[in-house]
């Protein structure tokens, strides 16, 4: 009997724990996700977070996923002043929160006054900085916080001061920031300077409104740091109030997120899928298995599976009509360290002739056909071709091994003689090692130089690349908005993402001149010239190819899955084709 006891215990444990999770009906659309960091749109950052943010919330402006054109969101229309710096948004009368409250101009002011503080510290705060006085307001919020922390007073007094500080947020915001609530339906926003793509910025998650009563109920002043804290519980289904096409029905951490149609949404009748379930997968192969077995209707971005090349081949041969491949709004490139010294020693890569020689001896066609086998579109420029209406990206450096060898000789290393081994930094996994090996091989073959391959764990890699502990490093960039500056700024002096440490006064001046130009056609031309100069004269990096993305779904069952390069799904535009 004693022997059976542990067995019985185990059985009991099993029965009790299984009884807790009853299965539920299948949603209208079931798809997978790999990582959601937060549902708070203001602090959202990662791609999947942002797609869900667009399902739950809506900004003043929104976009049509077909061609990424800007269309009315909460604002039915807007006027732009002649000098292009003042926007007046007219809110639609039927814009409502999911609890039925109207969405007002004040809700935007409220959200922005919280976003522009060190207490919230949103990763995309730059998007708010475009508004006039926004930076001054942030500085005030930072300084007042520092003052309270440095006060020589008992904690109770400091806490009282901290509470007063938070109460002054609204008043200070009105005083310093160029945002004016004219009435519940009219919001005037003054920009720091002319910004041709501000309507797109106004459509982003960083400028979404927040429901003041909900947020207020979840805010408190932290008695230790004296910061205003927002309890993340506000994003849980029982608390969240949102203004987008969907509301949050269920969120089980790393299991599933279920959305249901927001009946208060102004276009609720156009929302075809009444429920959407996002199932969490740790691994894309498992996600693919679930899709193949019919558990998922849609996989967005299945590219990480190791057999992606076979999927693309099957699609090209006409064997699979459920594989949809598209170019992304992102470029895979190698960055050169242009700093004069590395770890106190002179940096040989500071010589532009060497950078050019390396850039011109990479056979990109071979990379995409034989190494990645994903057949990405190869490129010589940084900004994706065809992604921005009216922008014509320039030609960068061509593949020209003879010229490369000549440049190497000019730099003092004929046939690679005396060339010190340089380090090529990349992060482990993701197939980057194959590209790195192939490129090192090409350089050995064409230039007779040796390259030390250095694989590093992700976080270590990020840090070393950012501080310039490398000669050449693997890199990639996805644009944030539809303007070439989201790419060409990567080569600007002092840009936080300028891992090359590149600094060229002429290049910066070209960008400044373009920024001052009001004529969009001229401006794009100037930016294209700047990009050309950066990529062929400065050469802080060499673009290799655009990322590509694979979606999996049956085209006879679903329509409206975006095929646009920007690749942001608007789930409420997806429709299920139902047999008549």
């Amino acid at each position: 009997m004693r022997l059976i006891l542990p067995l019985l215990l185990l059985v009991a444990l099993l029965v009790v724990s299984i009884a807790i999770d009853p299965p539920r009906p299948r949603a209208d659309l079931v798809t997978g996700y790999s990582s959601i960091e937060t549902l708070d749109p203001q602090i959202g950052r990662a791609h999947e977070d942002i797609e869900i943010a667009y399902a739950l919330f809506e900004g003043l402006v929104t976009f049509d996923p077909k061609d990424f054109s800007m269309v009315p969101g909460v604002a039915a229309s807007w006027d732009i002043s002649d000098d292009g710096t003042v926007y007046t948004f007219h809110l639609r009368p039927d814009a409502k929160w999911s609890n039925g409250d109207p969405v007002t101009a004040g809700d935007f002011r409220f959200a922005w006054s919280l976003g522009l503080t060190p207490d919230t510290a949103p990763p995309y705060i730059d998007f708010l900085y475009y508004i006039k006085g926004a930076k001054d307001y942030y500085n005030w919020a930072q300084q007042s916080l520092t003052e309270i922390n440095e006060m020589d007073a008992p904690p109770a007094e400091k806490l009282a001061a901290a509470r007063q500080r938070v109460e002054r947020f609204g008043e200070k915001f009105d005083e310093l920031v160029g945002v004016k609530v004219i009435d519940d339906r009219t919001l005037r926003v003054e920009l720091q300077e002319y910004l041709p793509y501000f309507t797109e910025i106004a459509s982003t998650w960083a400028l979404f409104p927040l429901h003041p009563p909900t947020i207020r109920a979840h805010m408190h002043v932290d008695p230790f740091s004296y910061r205003l804290r927002r309890d993340p519980q506000w994003t849980k289904p029982e608390n969240i109030v949102c203004d987008g096409p969907y509301v949050l029905d269920t969120w089980e951490f790393k299991r599933r997120i279920r959305l249901r149609r927001n009946e208060h949404f102004h276009s609720a009748k156009d929302v075809n899928l009444a429920t959407i379930e996002f199932v969490h997968f740790q691994d894309y192969v498992t996600m693919f298995t679930a899709y193949e077995s019919g558990e998922l209707d849609l996989v967005v971005g299945a590219t990480p599976v190791p057999f992606a090349p076979d999927l693309i081949a099957a699609q090209r041969e006409g064997k699979r009509n459920d594989v949809h491949e598209l170019d992304a709004y992102g470029t895979y490139y190698y960055v050169f360290n242009t700093r004069p010294t590395v770890e106190g020693k002179p940096n040989i890569m500071a010589d532009v002739r060497l950078r050019k020689a390396l850039a011109m001896t990479i056979d990109k066609k071979r990379l995409v056909e034989d190494v990645t086998r994903l057949h990405q579109t190869t490129t010589t420029c940084l900004t994706p071709i065809g992604a921005i209406n009216g922008y014509d990206p320039p030609q960068g450096l061509p593949y020209d091994p003879d010229q490369g060898r000549k440049l190497l000789a000019d730099a003092g290393f004929p046939n690679g003689q005396g060339f010190p081994a340089i380090s090529l930094l990349y992060n482990t996994g993701g197939g980057h090692e194959f590209v790195a090996q192939a490129i090192a091989h090409m350089w050995k073959e064409q230039l007779n130089i040796d390259v030390k391959l250095e694989a590093q764990e992700w976080k270590v890699f990020l840090r070393n690349r950012n501080v310039g502990q490398f000669s050449v490093a693997r890199s990639g960039w996805f644009g944030d908005y539809s303007d070439p500056t989201t790419f060409v700024d990567l080569m600007r002096t002092g840009n936080g993402n300028n891992d090359a440490g590149f600094s060229d006064a002429k290049y910066d001046a070209m960008l400044d001149a373009a920024a001052a130009e009001r004529d969009q056609t001229k401006r794009f031309k100037m930016l294209s010239e700047a990009e050309h100069y950066g990529l062929t004269v400065g050469v802080p990096l060499v673009p290799l190819y655009y990322y590509n993305i694979i979606h999996l779904y049956d085209p006879n069952e679903l329509t409206g899955v975006t095929q646009h390069q920007r690749n942001v799904q608007m789930y409420w535009r997806i429709k299920r084709i139902r047999p008549e």
Binding site: I18, I125, D126, F253, Q282, A290, K459, G496
Partner: protein, 315 residues
């Protein structure tokens, strides 16, 4: 007996403090910044504000405050691991470590319990058959299966099951939530344990079957079934029991591969994920929960030992 329990329980906090300190030092020494991500970097002032929010700029303050909480106005302290507050997750900003662990731990325990249950039933049966029919074809068969079970990694058996039952036959789905979804992962996870238990039982049974008390029992005219199950197995089971403690802990905590193959929302993934993301609070929380679990399991096995075998005194 009670003295043992008392002693062990008294050791628990001390052991955990050592584990806490070692984990903290290692986690802090791992290069990389938990708030650093690929893509657009926030402006400097915002990055600093983020770091300051979580004490990431001061290891000593972090160590102390995470353990015993922060001082409260008017005396006393609040928060900290000691009050059960495991802190926020740095990567998954809407969740606390307590919520994450609370959600994932039951899953791992269910899966582990199911696996050990299967392992016990299959392993002991196979072991007994092997010992009784020693040298016969059945013995050979169970031995070979056991050998395969021990040598085959779970990601191979798991993937094989997946290919047959999910992709080809479409009988079973992957994920978590229904009994049918438990079948494949539990079997996969149980195989190495079942194989080990089978071998332990077989060896123990062979040994015991030739001992004096078994011969006496047979001489008294006790039926063969009764001899095997009532007399012999009871003694032969002891080595299995001592294996069961670490095995249960391993099954409930070390199912990372199985969780990945069958998409199960258990604890295993946080062990790896948390370190990769350098999610300090999550690392500390997961390690503390796991260590507590391990220590408790070992204690339980020691107790069970004395219950089953009256010859063992634990004082």
């Amino acid at each position: 007996m009670s003295r043992l329990i008392f002693l062990r329980l008294a050791q628990l906090p001390l052991l955990l403090l050592v584990i806490y300190t070692v984990t903290f030092v290692l986690a802090w020494a791992v290069p990389g910044n938990p708030l650093e991500q690929e893509g657009r970097k926030p402006p400097k002032e915002v990055e600093e504000a983020m770091r300051a929010q979580y004490n990431l700029d001061d290891p000593v303050a972090f160590y102390v405050q995470y353990l015993i909480g922060k001082p409260r106005d008017g005396g006393g302290r609040t928060g900290g691991v000691l009050t059960g507050d495991l802190g926020p997750s740095l990567k998954y900003k809407d969740w606390t470590v307590g919520q994450i662990v609370g959600d994932a731990l039951p899953v791992s325990i269910q899966l582990g319990a199911a696996a050990i249950l299967i392992a016990l039933i299959v392993g002991v049966t196979a072991g007994v058959i092997g010992a009784v029919k020693r040298g016969g074809p059945l013995d050979l068969a169970t031995l070979s299966v056991a050998l395969i079970g021990i040598s085959m990694p779970t990601f191979v058996t798991g993937s094989l099951l997946l290919m047959i039952f999910t992709l080809q036959l479409r009988w079973l789905s992957i994920g978590w939530g229904s009994v049918s979804q438990l079948i494949m992962p539990a079997i996969t996870l149980s195989l190495p344990f079942a194989a080990y238990i089978a071998r332990l039982t077989r060896l123990g049974m062979i040994d015991v079957m030739s001992s004096d008390f078994v011969r006496t029992a047979r001489a008294k005219g006790v039926g063969e079934g009764s001899v095997i199950f009532k007399h012999a197995l009871k003694v032969a089971f002891l080595p299995v029991l001592s294996f069961l403690g670490p095995a249960a802990a391993a099954a409930m905590t070390g199912s990372f591969v199985v969780e990945k193959v069958f998409n199960i929302p258990g604890m295993g993934k946080y062990f790896v994920d948390a370190v990769l993301n350098k999610d300090l609070f999550l690392i500390m929380g997961v390690v503390l929960v796991y260590s507590t679990l391990l220590i408790v399991f070992n204690l339980l096995v020691d107790l069970a030992y004395s219950l089953v075998d009256p010859r063992i005194e634990l004082d």
